[in-house]
């Protein structure tokens, strides 16, 4: 599948990345190459094959319902710029 410039702009916006106008065409080419490479997998016939979630023979691990964590508000906000009253602060989000 070829990725066009419009798709690059859309994907960049979804990922909140700023891409300079001049880089769009190069990126479209690079992304097309990557997708083309991955698409080789489509050549394998997977009819009737169960999707594989993990190559290791392990099951999802469950834990008991116990409170074993939390109580570390300073750690939680330690990287936050300008925390207020123990909370993160971000530019006003208005709906």
């Amino acid at each position: 599948m070829a990725v066009d410039i419009e798709t690059v702009v859309r994907v960049a916006r979804l990922a909140r990345l700023t891409v300079p106008e001049g880089d769009l065409e190069t990126l479209a080419g690079e992304l097309s190459n990557i997708i083309g490479w991955i698409e080789q997998l489509d050549e394998v016939d997977t009819d009737g094959v169960e999707p594989l979630a993990s190559v290791a023979d392990i099951k999802l691990r469950w834990r008991a319902d116990e409170v074993t964590d939390g109580g570390i508000p300073d750690k939680v906000t330690s990287n936050a710029p300008d925390p207020q009253n123990g909370m993160f602060s971000v530019p006003k989000v208005v709906e």
Partner: protein, 483 residues
């Protein structure tokens, strides 16, 4: 079918609901932080919930059990294998940049519940699915003029999203559906159903169509947090859509907000591509696999659910569907009623519970669990009525005193001399007195105005402080006046 009249004819309303219910559990879906309501900001946050790099989610077995339990209570199919996916979007209260949810393979599939309508009829509403997902944190917009503050205590708390089929046809049905879901969740103990604290909220999908047409374009009203608001939001939205279409416009498929102060919905500035969630299986989590025997063991522990109880109350006690529906809405009320009805006339018991008791509880803003009158005491009072110890009328006074003092009816009746007078001699004396005092009324009665008999009864009751047996009084009066 409920139809709404427009200028161009009748319209049918189509509603589907997504109910988000907080799972009752001590810790979060994928971390060991507490779910307790009302803690100081960010004190119930693990580094997993804060999405610190390298932190991995580990699933809480209780959350899975609660989802399965709820699925069984909704008469739904349990999927022994389900998948957690990432739903990607950016918002300040979502530190991961995605919500762990379930998309194509939810833990619970199709089910159905019965809803009770005000006219006593019932309808079946299909459940599409139930899936487990993480709650987001809380954004606080009103503490700082330029900033939004974020508290992550709720971040990662387990939610069940219960999606209905578009089977609902009116605001009333939508309200009845949410009430029934809440009632089932409370019976099961899987969600406290507390809408004020945000433990339950609903997204409401509304569209309109001419009867028989295909579905119209729907608008989704997000995050409505009370049953009254759900009804108001639907009423407003239906009107808006009908007017829009009848004026030649088209309904946009969009997300709207309900403003409770104005009882109206309005468009959330629909951000371009806001709905491109790019779901994909979460590589941090293997599929959720359940053993059938484990599911069966949960099924064994299900309580009698509201609909089963309602049918039993109708069949065994001869109650109307409406009364039975009212009594089973909360488990504690149903248990209280059954204790009162045990060995007594169930309809009389139902009338006392729903009449005097509910009235007094409402007036004093009291919960059934802390009712000053116990089921045993109310039962004794009903026994006093049936054996003639107190008249129906005085029983209401006795009840008021019971509610104030928590005393047994026996003590109240004895101490305050409220026993019904059935002694013929005492009644006759009061009747004679009333006839002697009412010469004018006697003439009216003899002149054919039988209604005046009520005046005599009133006089006798007054003279006996309401304790005379009304039937005996009536008989005695007739005998004397007619004779």
């Amino acid at each position: 079918m409920t139809l709404i009249q427009g200028r161009t004819g009748d319209w049918e309303v189509v509603i589907g609901l997504e109910v988000h219910a907080q799972v009752t559990s001590k810790s979060k879906l994928f971390s060991g932080a507490s779910t307790e309501f009302g803690a100081e900001p960010n004190t119930q946050v693990s580094l997993v919930d804060a999405a610190m790099p390298g932190m991995l989610p580990v699933i809480n077995e209780k959350a899975v059990e609660q989802a399965v339990r709820t699925g069984l209570g909704l008469n739904a199919q349990i999927n022994l294998k389900s998948i957690f996916d990432r739903k990607n979007y950016f918002y300040p209260d979502l530190p991961q940049g995605y919500q762990i949810s379930q998309y194509l393979d939810p833990v619970v599939g199709k089910g159905e519940i019965e809803i009770d309508l005000e006219d006593g009829s019932t309808r079946t509403v299909g459940i599409t699915r139930l899936h487990l997902e993480q709650d987001a944190g809380k954004s606080i917009h009103d503490q700082d003029p330029r900033k939004t503050l974020v508290d992550l205590n709720r971040s990662g708390v387990a939610l069940m999203e219960i999606v209905s089929e578009p089977d609902i046809r009116s605001a009333e049905e939508a309200g009845a559906y949410v009430e029934k879901i809440r009632s089932i969740l409370r019976y099961l103990g899987t969600c406290d159903g507390n809408m004020q604290e945000g433990s339950m909220r609903a997204d409401v999908n509304v569209s309109v169509r001419k009867p028989g047409d295909d579905f119209g374009t729907r608008a989704e009203i997000k995050n409505v947090n009370s049953i009254r608001f759900i009804r108001q939001a639907i009423d407003y939205e239906v009107r808006r859509q009908i007017e829009l279409i009848e004026d030649g416009g088209e309904v946009d498929q969009e997300t709207r907000l309900f403003d409770p102060d104005r009882a109206e919905t309005r468009s959330m500035r629909s951000k371009e591509e806001a709905h491109d969630y790019r779901y994909f299986p979460d590589p941090d989590l293997l599929p959720l696999e359940l053993e059938q025997s484990w599911v069966d063991a949960i099924r064994e522990t299900l309580p009698e659910l509201p609909d089963q109880k309602k049918h039993r109350f109708v069949d065994d006690y001869g109650l109307s569907v409406i009364d039975a529906g009212t009594l089973v809405a909360e488990r504690k009320i149903a248990e209280f009623f059954e204790a009162v009805a045990e060995g007594r006339d169930a309809k009389v018991a139902a009338n006392w519970v729903m009449g005097e008791l509910f009235g007094a509880l409402n007036r004093t803003d009291t919960d059934i669990a802390t009712s000053p009158v116990s089921a045993a005491q109310l039962g004794q009072l009903i026994d006093f009525i049936s054996d003639g110890t107190v008249s129906n009328r005085l029983a209401k006074n006795v009840f008021e005193i019971m509610f104030e003092t928590s005393d047994d009816p026996k003590k109240i009746v004895e101490q305050r001399g409220m026993k019904q007078v059935t002694d013929a001699g005492a009644i006759e004396a009061a009747v004679d007195e009333a006839i002697a005092a009412g010469a004018a009324q006697v003439d009216q009665y003899k002149g054919g105005n039988v209604k005046v008999l009520g005046w005599f009864v009133g006089q006798v009751m007054k003279a006996t402080q309401g304790k005379a047996n009304p039937q005996a009084v009536n008989e005695m009066l007739r005998k004397k006046l007619d004779g």
